[in-house]
């Protein structure tokens, strides 16, 4: 986690484009943020899949790292984090 924090404020050109929901599922699995089945639906319940307050913090840090998007306290609502689809929408909305 320490190395990730060090990356915080650094803006670099390698940031990825806003992900679609399926890419987001693969990415979350790859980052070890959640363990979602290969056929986890785009509108599947992320909270039921284990997204708790600690996982949310890691998600926020990882999203900034990967997509260059800062999610703040007001963004972290149950609605925005409910599914891969809503989360993709939140990231896309922040990066435009």
């Amino acid at each position: 986690m320490g190395t990730r924090i060090a990356l915080f404020a650094r803006m670099d050109s390698s940031k990825q484009m806003s992900p679609n929901p399926t890419e987001l599922i693969d990415w979350m699995n790859g980052e070890g943020l959640l363990e979602l089945d290969w056929d986890f639906p785009e509108d599947g319940d992320l909270f039921a899949a284990g997204l708790d307050s600690m996982a949310v913090m890691q998600l926020v840090v990882a999203v900034e790292d990967e997509y260059g998007v800062e999610l703040g306290p007001d963004d972290l609502t149950r609605e925005n984090l409910a599914t891969p689809t809503t989360l993709a929408k939140l990231i896309a909305g922040k990066s435009s």
């Binding site: 600690m54 913090m57 149950r78």
Partner: protein
């Protein structure tokens, strides 16, 4: 043996969830039982360390509704706790847990102990050495009044740290420092807001913001908060990383443990103070109490006649001589990044064979709680309080049966 030595049928080392279950179970059969506990109350992790959920009480299932896994002492504690708090089991992700309040747990334990005329409770005392003789065990106990020696025909090690094995100098193992489960540091917070889902998520955002701005330490990202069930009170929990370098972590070394606890308090105090000034949902908050000690998840493990393995837990293996069911998924906290859960196939419970409670090659000695004979992976399932009640109860029964 000197003539002044007091004699008991069963002595139980450690009054945590397993020791409590073992001592009360032994005493209920009429055995003269001694329970030795280092703190001023029993309950261990669930009281001194403020761990506020009983995990492992219920079967894993997809259907709604919590179903108790083990009858007997676990079920009795669950019933008493629900009566005290008015709060029933809760589905969190895929598991059912029973929220419990440490203050209620202390009182429940006091009452259950007081109801047993053949049970003697010795608080503020630590057993410090053990010696085997032909008929049983001589136990040295240290307290502020000095050292005393007692005799017990059978012994239950419910110390959590396999202390009896440590004194004997054999019969135990321990994972490498880098692999050991990290301890939890739980503290009480007064918070006038009602902590719900929305505030919990918002708080995650606030903590990242605080770390981003460099005001609170990055270790605050290991913090989580949950309502205690009492108005205005929440619990904060930090998974401690285990020191500057993970390889130095030793949960048995008082200096190492003390340093971790100091660090836990620093993180907690800095963070709560910052939250109180930063956001309306945290306005008026302050830390109301510290735990007596950090919550240790893993240290020494006994080597028993049987060794439960991670593969057994994943497969939901059952045994002819099983004494209880383990239902908690293997919960790995080998770093401070939050738990990694490994669930068994088809939600199957795993049997715990009696041999896991019997140290190899020793009679009149039984083990209950998190230091029963299991490998590192299986220990990540059986260590939870709901399961410790059940293994402690079984150890108490086996200790009485061994009296003949």
């Amino acid at each position: 043996m000197s003539p002044g030595v007091r004699r008991f049928d069963v002595a139980v080392v450690g009054g945590g969830s397993a020791g409590l279950a073992a001592a009360i179970t032994a005493a209920r059969s009429g055995a003269r039982t001694l329970l030795i506990e280092r703190h001023g109350f029993t309950g261990g992790m669930g009281t001194a360390s403020l761990v506020h959920s009983f995990c492992g009480l219920y079967l894993l299932r997809d259907e709604p509704g919590a179903v108790l896994a083990n009858p007997g002492f676990s079920a009795e504690i669950a019933e008493r706790m629900i009566a005290a708090t008015g709060i029933g089991p809760l589905r969190v992700g895929r598991v059912d847990v029973l929220p419990q309040h440490p203050v209620d747990f202390v009182r429940i334990a006091d009452e259950m102990i007081a109801a047993e005329p053949t049970l003697e409770l010795m608080l503020h005392a630590e057993a410090s050495a053990v010696e085997r003789d032909a008929e049983g065990w001589l136990l040295k106990i240290a307290s502020r009044s000095g050292a005393v020696e007692i005799f017990a025909s059978t012994l239950v090690d419910a110390s959590g740290d396999a202390m009896v094995a440590a004194w004997l100098g054999e019969g135990f193992t321990m994972a490498a420092a880098t692999q050991l489960q990290r301890p939890a540091y739980v503290f009480g917070v007064h918070n006038p807001s009602v902590m719900g889902d929305a505030m919990r998520l918002r708080t995650s955002g606030l903590l990242v913001e605080g770390v981003r701005s460099g005001i609170i330490p990055s270790t605050a990202l290991g913090l989580s908060f949950r309502e205690s069930g009492r108005l205005g009170e929440i619990f904060g929990t930090i998974d401690l990383t285990g020191g500057d370098t993970a390889g130095d972590f030793d949960p048995l070394d008082p200096v190492c443990l003390g340093k971790l606890e100091v660090e836990g308090r620093r993180i907690a105090a800095t963070t709560v103070e910052w939250l109180a000034g930063r956001d309306d949902t945290w306005k008026g908050s302050y830390i109301s109490h510290w735990p007596v000690r950090a919550g240790i998840r893993e240290s020494r493990r006994w080597l028993g006649e049987a060794v439960l393995t991670g593969a057994d837990v994943l497969a939901g293996k059952r045994f002819e001589d099983e004494i209880a069911l383990a239902t908690w998924p293997m919960e790995f906290r080998e770093n401070a990044k939050g738990p990694k859960l490994r669930f068994p196939e088809n939600n199957r419970p795993c049997g715990i064979p009696a041999g896991c409670l019997k140290p190899r090659g020793m009679d009149r000695l039984f083990v209950g709680g998190r230091c029963i004979s299991a490998d590192h992976d299986a220990q990540a399932s059986i260590r939870v309080m709901g399961t410790c009640f059940a293994t402690g109860e079984a150890a108490g029964k086996m200790a009485v049966d061994a009296l003949g």
